[in-house]
Structure formats: structure tokens, C-alpha cells
């Protein structure tokens, strides 16, 4: 609809008559496109979340809340536990 509007306006400018309202069928086309777009966007949206704090807190865990990632220790036993066994000393 936007493309046909643009094309019509440029045609009008070419004919030397830039004023005047849009022809009616282009108006109908753009309104129809708006309605279809609204339906598509609202039906395609991701599932809605609750707005209360309590419902959000039900989804969190203590480990997530207490993780204190700014202070986390990165020198842990992870290097020994998870490293590739073939890379270590044999």
C-alpha cells in the first residue's frame, strides 16, 4: 500500500499536479494493510508474562539471586573437573 501511494504521488508530481487527496482505492488498500498488520502482530507476539513481582519471583532460584557475579571466584576446581582429559598429564 505504501508503495502504491508513493507511485501515485510521483505520478501526480510528474503530471504537475502534486496537490489533491489520494485516490480512494489507495486509501482503502492502506487501511486494509493496517488491519491485517495489526492482526498479524498481535497473533504472532511471544507469550505474555505476568505483571506481579510475586509471579516473577516464583520463576527465580536462590542460586540465581545469590550468585554475586561481580565478586565471583574464577580460580576454582573447574579447571581440573571439566578440562579435556587428554590435555592433562597422562
Amino acid at each position: 500500500a505504501a508503495y502504491s501511494t508513493y507511485e501515485h504521488l510521483s505520478l501526480l508530481k510528474a503530471l504537475g499536479k502534486p496537490e489533491g487527496s489520494l485516490p480512494l482505492d489507495i486509501v482503502y488498500e492502506s487501511v486494509l494493510a493496517l488491519i491485517l498488520g495489526l492482526f498479524g502482530a498481535s497473533l504472532n507476539s511471544p507469550p505474555l508474562n505476568d505483571i506481579t513481582w510475586a509471579s516473577e519471583m516464583k520463576k527465580r532460584t536462590i542460586d540465581g539471586m545469590d550468585s554475586r557475579l561481580g565478586f565471583a571466584q574464577y580460580k576454582s576446581r573447574g579447571k581440573l573437573l571439566f578440562a579435556n582429559p587428554h590435555q592433562g598429564k597422562e
Partner: protein, 301 residues
């Protein structure tokens, strides 16, 4: 496992602040192998940061170095990159070198919160707990609203068994995040350990209110306590017992003890029975049900 699923998992870990390094590492490697980095666009840099930290945690320093090189090439003078370089240094070099690196950065810019936090965590790791606490208190004087910092202070005090100081730090956390039941539960349990039973029982009941309070349509008998609420009801029962046993004990925070302790105890018993009676998601009975039933049945005094 598809690329989309891996990206969703990584985004979930970012929002929920969990430290699931092995999971992040596995998903992150998958994203890198399937060339998902271009798909992420600008989000790709936070993903690379997340993957760097997870690979350092898991011990795969080769992957960490690759990611760090990519980030450092793109953002040469960024404080966040300095922080990541410091963490990488902490993982392999001796702690004095990391401390010197952080001290240099802090001299240049003394308000760099992330670097200050890393310095405090290195001091805590090498055992200089008093120095770490002093620096942390200074940090919290400057950055009062840093919830992580207050939680870390509470944790350090609790690990040294100074539970009343830990409780003081947690009250600041409660001021900053009043709607969070997890921190209220931590404060309640710290108050219980500090032997301030009236305060602890009030906090446990507040946790119950916060987590279960919006079931206003359902009758009380029909709703089952889950998760934090069960832990809070256990706390209420423990506190009620201790208050009855030590009737003339003074509360350190001058909190008055609740008047109808027997009724509270009965309510806690009933809620715990309901929590452990309902069948779980797969229709099985909760583990430990018999022990819980036996324990809650013992009389109050």
C-alpha cells in the same frame, strides 16, 4: 540441539544471573560452531563476554583467549574489557600480579566499580579477609545501591560467624530490594542463627506473605505451599519452638514476640503437612514425608 534453543538458553542465563558455566560453555561452543555469531549482531558481544567467563570457569582457557581476543580487537580501551583481561589474569597468574594490575587501573580511574569488586574478591581469595572487608565497606560507602556488594559483605561476615553484622548488611539489602522474598528469607535465617527469634519469626511470616499472598481467590485449604514458602514455614516452626523454650530471652532488636504462638505453630504444622501431602508433578509422593510428619507432630514445649 538447535541454534535457536541454544541462543534462548544463553539469554535466559544472562537475565537470571545464574552461574551455570558448563551449560553456557556447551551452548556457546554450539553457537560458535554453527556460525551463529553473525546472526546475533550487536548482541554477539555480550554473548562473547558470557562465553569468556564460562570458559575460564570450566578451565578451557584456549576458548577464553579466542573470545577475549575478538572482544579486545573490537573495543580496545573499554573498562569492561579491562575487567575481563583481569579475570583471565586471575585464573593463571599469581594473585599479586592481578592485584597490581587492578591497582594500576584504579589509580587511573578510582571510580571503576567492576575493577574494585574484582580486587576485593582477589583479596578475599588469598585470605586477607580483614583487608577485603575494609575495602568492601569503603566500596559500599561510595556505591550504596550495589546489592551484590551488600550480599557479599553479609556472606563474608556469616562465614566468620559474625551473624549480627551479617544481619545488619542484609537490612541494607532489604532496603534496596524490598520486594524480593529470597533476601528476606536469607535475613530471616540469619536472624535465627543470630538467636533473635522474634525478629526471625516475623521475617519468615513476611516471606510467606510475599510468596503466597496473592492467592486471594483460592481458599487457604486449597492452595499448596511450594518452594520458598515451605522453607519459610519450616523456619516459623523452628522459631516458635525456640521462643517457647526460652521465654525470658531478650531480642537483640527489641522485637516483641507474637502473642498467639500455639496458633502459629498449628498453622505452620498444617501448611507443612499440605505441602508434603500433595502429589508432585509425576504423581509421586514427596520424599521425606514421613520424617516431616513425625517432626511436626511433636508438641511445642
Amino acid at each position: 540441539m538447535s541454534l535457536q534453543f541454544a541462543l534462548e538458553q544463553l539469554a535466559t542465563h544472562r537475565t537470571k544471573n545464574t552461574r551455570a558455566s558448563q551449560d553456557v560453555f556447551r551452548n556457546g561452543l554450539l553457537v560458535l560452531q554453527k556460525k551463529g555469531l553473525k546472526k546475533l549482531g550487536d548482541d554477539g558481544w555480550t554473548f562473547l563476554e558470557q562465553l569468556t567467563l564460562a570458559s575460564i570457569d570450566v578451565g578451557r582457557l584456549d576458548v577464553a583467549d579466542q573470545c577475549l581476543q575478538l572482544i579486545a580487537d573490537k573495543f580496545p580501551n573499554s573498562p569492561r574489557v579491562d575487567c575481563l583481561t583481569g579475570i583471565r589474569m586471575e585464573a593463571t597468574e599469581p594473585p599479586e600480579i592481578a592485584l597490581k594490575y587492578y591497582a594500576d587501573i584504579l589509580e587511573a580511574d578510582s571510580a571503576n566499580a567492576a575493577i574494585w569488586k574484582r580486587r576485593i574478591s582477589v583479596l578475599k581469595r588469598i585470605g586477607k579477609v580483614e583487608k577485603a572487608v575494609n575495602e568492601l565497606v569503603q566500596f559500599l560507602d561510595t556505591f550504596y545501591t550495589d546489592v551484590e556488594g551488600w550480599l557479599e559483605l553479609a556472606d563474608i561476615y556469616a562465614s566468620c560467624s559474625q551473624y549480627d553484622h551479617s544481619l545488619q548488611a542484609l537490612t541494607h539489602v532489604l532496603l534496596l530490594t524490598p520486594q524480593n522474598p529470597f533476601y528476606m528469607l536469607q535475613a530471616a535465617e540469619t536472624a535465627y542463627t543470630a538467636e533473635d527469634f522474634p525478629l526471625a519469626i516475623k521475617m519468615f511470616l513476611t516471606v510467606v506473605d510475599m510468596t503466597d499472598g496473592d492467592d486471594s481467590e483460592q481458599l487457604l485449604q486449597e492452595s499448596t505451599p511450594l518452594g520458598l514458602t515451605v522453607r519459610a514455614w519450616f523456619g516459623v516452626k523452628l522459631c516458635a519452638r525456640r521462643i517457647v523454650q526460652n521465654t525470658n530471652m531478650k531480642s537483640a532488636s527489641n522485637t516483641s514476640s507474637p502473642k498467639k504462638l500455639e496458633l502459629l505453630d498449628e498453622l505452620a504444622t498444617e501448611r507443612l503437612r499440605v505441602a508434603y501431602s500433595s502429589s508432585g508433578q509425576k504423581g509421586e509422593i514427596a520424599q521425606g514425608r514421613q520424617e516431616v510428619f513425625a517432626w511436626v507432630a511433636t508438641p511445642l514445649s
